[in-house]
Symmetry: C2
Amino acid sequence: MFTVAESDPKLSKEQAEPLEAKLRTELLKAQYARLQKAQRALLIVIAGIDGAGTGASVSLINEWMDARFIRTMAFDEATPEEKRYPPLWRYWQPLPALGRTGIVFGSWYQPLLREAAKKKPNPDAIQNLAQGIREFESMLANNGIQIVKLWHHLSRKAQKKRTDELLAHRETAWQVHPGEIKVRKKFARLRSAAELSINLTQADFAPWQIIPSADPDMRAVATGQAILTALRQKPSSVGSNSARDNENSKAARSHATAGAKIPPRIEKLDYTARLDSKEYEAQLGYWQARLAELTRRDKFKDRSLILVFEGQDAAGKGGAIRRVAHAFDARQYRIHPIAAPSDIEIAHPYLWRFWRSVPAPGKIAVFDRSWYGRVLVERVEKYAAPQDWRRAYAEINQFEAQLTNNGAVLVKFWLAITRAEQLKRFHEREASPFKSFKITPEDWRNRKKWTAYLQAADEMLARTDTTWAPWHALSSNDKRHARVAVLEHTVKALEKALDTRKN
Amino acid sequence: MFTVAESDPKLSKEQAEPLEAKLRTELLKAQYARLQKAQRALLIVIAGIDGAGTGASVSLINEWMDARFIRTMAFDEATPEEKRYPPLWRYWQPLPALGRTGIVFGSWYQPLLREAAKKKPNPDAIQNLAQGIREFESMLANNGIQIVKLWHHLSRKAQKKRTDELLAHRETAWQVHPGEIKVRKKFARLRSAAELSINLTQADFAPWQIIPSADPDMRAVATGQAILTALRQKPSSVGSNSARDNENSKAARSHATAGAKIPPRIEKLDYTARLDSKEYEAQLGYWQARLAELTRRDKFKDRSLILVFEGQDAAGKGGAIRRVAHAFDARQYRIHPIAAPSDIEIAHPYLWRFWRSVPAPGKIAVFDRSWYGRVLVERVEKYAAPQDWRRAYAEINQFEAQLTNNGAVLVKFWLAITRAEQLKRFHEREASPFKSFKITPEDWRNRKKWTAYLQAADEMLARTDTTWAPWHALSSNDKRHARVAVLEHTVKALEKALDTRKN
C-alpha cells in the first residue's frame, strides 16, 4: 500500500511549477462550479503518519482554493464539554453545506489509529471503531457529502530527515511535534496501524488515497490532484456509491416486500379509552409529581431525556407536551417545534439539524415532530426519493442508538385519532378565535391523504420500534387519556433507566 | 414600588375568563403582525421573588401565543464551559431574530440580585453589575431587540400561603424550590434587593413592570396585558428609546464636531518602508518561531488571541493572515472570512455573529474583515443609518472591553496601500488565472469611493484605538514589510499579556 510513497518520489522545481499553476487554476474553476450547482459538499479528511506535513496540506488547500468557501474543521482532544455528547456529535456540528468544502484535521480516525497502534491492540475495539466510521461516512455520502481521504506517507528515513532538518534551526524547530520524534522508534508499528485502519475503512463512497509526502512539491501536487479529481466527479458516478445505494434500497425493498404486510397498528388501537375529568386530574398530578422527582434526581445528571411526538394533525401533541413539560424545571428542557427545514438546513444531511439539538446530560429535549418527517411527510409528499426515505429507517435507528448508547433515554409517541375525530377538531379550531391559527389549508390537504400518511406511519412504527428507542402508539381521541398515558410511559422509561444503569 | 402587588389583588373566575379569552386572541394577532413585519424582536425577561410563579408565566406565554415562534431562553448556573467566555456570551447566542420572541428566565439579573441580597452587599459591585446590564440592554434595544421586564411580586403572607399549599400535597410539593421556603425568613432583604436592582436598571428602552402574583388569574392577565402592550408598541415610540438615540447620536455628533479634524493617519504613513527578500525570510522565520512558542505556552491556555484585519481592497490581508496562521497549530485557530451578512445574521444585532465566533481560552480567532464593517462599508454604502454607525464606536469599544476583560488579547491591523499601488495590484490580479477570482466589479466600484472609505477608516482609527484593543496602521505597499510588522506586533502584544498577567 505504501510502496510508492516510501520510495519518496520528488518533483524538480521545473516540473512542479507549471503543474502547480495549472492545478490552482483548475481547482478554483472546479470549486466555483461546485458552489454554483450546490448539489454536494466535499469533505477532505487529512491524515497521515506524524511528521509527513499534514498541516502544510491544510494550509495549501486554503491557499490554492478560495478560502472563503472552505471550513477547516480541526479537532483536538475532545473537551470535557464535548465528551458529554455522543462521540460523533462534534463532527456533525461544522459539516459543510452543499457546494462548500470542509477540511477535517484530527478526525474521527484518531481513536481507531490510536487503538491500532497499541502494542496489544484490542481486535474487537478495532472492528467496532471501524464499523462506526463506515456507518458515519456512508450516511454522509448518501446524504450529499462527498468524502475523500488523504493519507500522507513517506519512508522512515525521509521522516527522520525532515524532522531533523526542522529541528536544526530555532526558526523551524517548533514545527516538530513531540510525537513526530517518537515516530522513528515505532515507525513499523504506526505503519501497520495505518495499513489496517485504511483497509478497514476503504470504501468506494469514501476512498483513501496515499499522498507521497517526502518532497513538499510532490505532496502539494498529489494533494491538489486528488482534490481536483474529487471535485470533478459527477454525483451519479461517485464511485459505486450509486451501486451501494441500489444495494441498500434493494435490501430495503426486499425487506419491505418480505414484510409487505406491515401490521396496521394505528387503526387497530382502542379508540374508546377515556378518562373522566376527576380521574384525569388525580392521575395527571400523580404522574407529574413522579416525573418531577425523577428528573430532579442526582442520577439524572448523567443521563438525558429525549421525547419525540408525532401523530395526525390535531391529535393533541401540543397539549400533551405542555402537560409533560409542566413537570420539568424551565432551565432543564427545551421544546423543539419542527417545521419545514430552513435553507441552511436543506443544504445539510437531514439529521444535521437534530444533531444540533441533542441535549447535554441532565437536560431534556422535546420534539414536536422530529426526524421522522423523513419517512412521513417527505415520503408522502415525495420530497425525498424512495431510496432516500427507505434508507432512512436504518439511518434513524443508528442515530438513536448513538444517543441512547451515550445515556439518553429516548421515548417516542404516536398520538392517534380517528378520521371523524380529526374533522370535529378541525371545525372546532376554525371556530375558536385563538385556535384558528392552528388550522391551515395544508391541514385540509394532508387530511385528503389520510391513508397514505397512515401507511407511512405504520411502516415507520414497524421499522423503527427498537428496544433502545421504543414507540408508543396511543389513542388520543380522548386527550385526557393520551396525556396521562404519555406521562406514564415517560415515567416508566426513566425509572427503568435510572434504576438499572450502574453509575 | 410593590404597594399594589403586595395588596395581593385577585380576579374572580367570572372576571378572568372573558379577559383571558380576549387577551389570547389579541396576543396571537399582535404576534403574527410582528412576525410579518419582522422589524423588531421582543425579549421578555421574567424575574421575581422566589415562589411568585415565574415558571407558570413562562408556560402561560408559550400556551397563549404561538409557541413555534417563541424561544424560551432558560439559564441555569453557568457551566464550566460557559464560564470560560465573557459573562454575557451565553445570552448572546440564542437571541431571537427580528419578528420573533424570546422569554428569558434566569437572566443576566441573577448576579445583581444575588449581590444586592447579601447581608453586606458591595456597592461598587452592584454599580458595576447594573452598569453592565444597562449597556447590554441599551445595545440590544438600539439594535432591533425590544425588551420588556416583568417582576413577579406578592406579599410575604401570600408567598408563604402559596408555598405552604403546594407543599401540603405530594402532587404539587415538587413545584416548590428549596429557595422558596427560605424566602420567608429574609423576605424584607430580598424585597429591598429587588427594589434596588429594579431602580438601577429601570429604563425607557427596557422598562420593568410589576406583576401582582398572589392570584394565578391576576398574574396571567397582568402578564398577558404587559406583553400585548409591548407587542403593540410602534418602533418609533419605543419609550424614549428614540430620544435616547437622538441623545446618543447628538453626543456622537458633537464629539464628531469637536474632533471634526480627524487626523489623517492612514495617508500619513510612510509608504516607502521595504524589506528585501533575504531580510524578509530571516525576519519571517524569527517572528513565526517566537509566535509559535508563545501560543504553545501553558499560560496561553487561560488567554485567547483575536486578530482583526482590515484594509483597502488588495492590501494583502489574506497573505498576511497566512503568514501569521503558519505559526499556529491547526487545531488552535480559526479564520473567519467576513462577507455580507446572511439572512439570519441580518435579522440580529450586527455584533451577534461575532459573539458566535468568540474563541474559547487557549484558542485563536483571525478575522479577515470584522465588526468594523459597521463603520466602514455600512457607513460608506449607507446600509446603516448615521445614528447607527455613530453609536457603533462606543458599542464596539464595549464589546472589545468585554473580550479583553475576559483574558483575550485583541490586536487590530489596518493594512494600507496607496491608490496607485491598488491600481497596479488590481491589474495584476486580473491577469493571473488563479487570482482573477479575487477581483470583482465591486472592487472597482469601491475604488471610486477611495476618499470616503479613507475618511471612515481614519475616524474608526481615531475612535476605537483603545488601550485594551489597539490599532496598528501599517503600510502594505511592500507586502514583506507589512507581514513582518504584523507578526512583530502580534508577538509583542502576546508577550506583554503573558508576562504581566498574574495567573
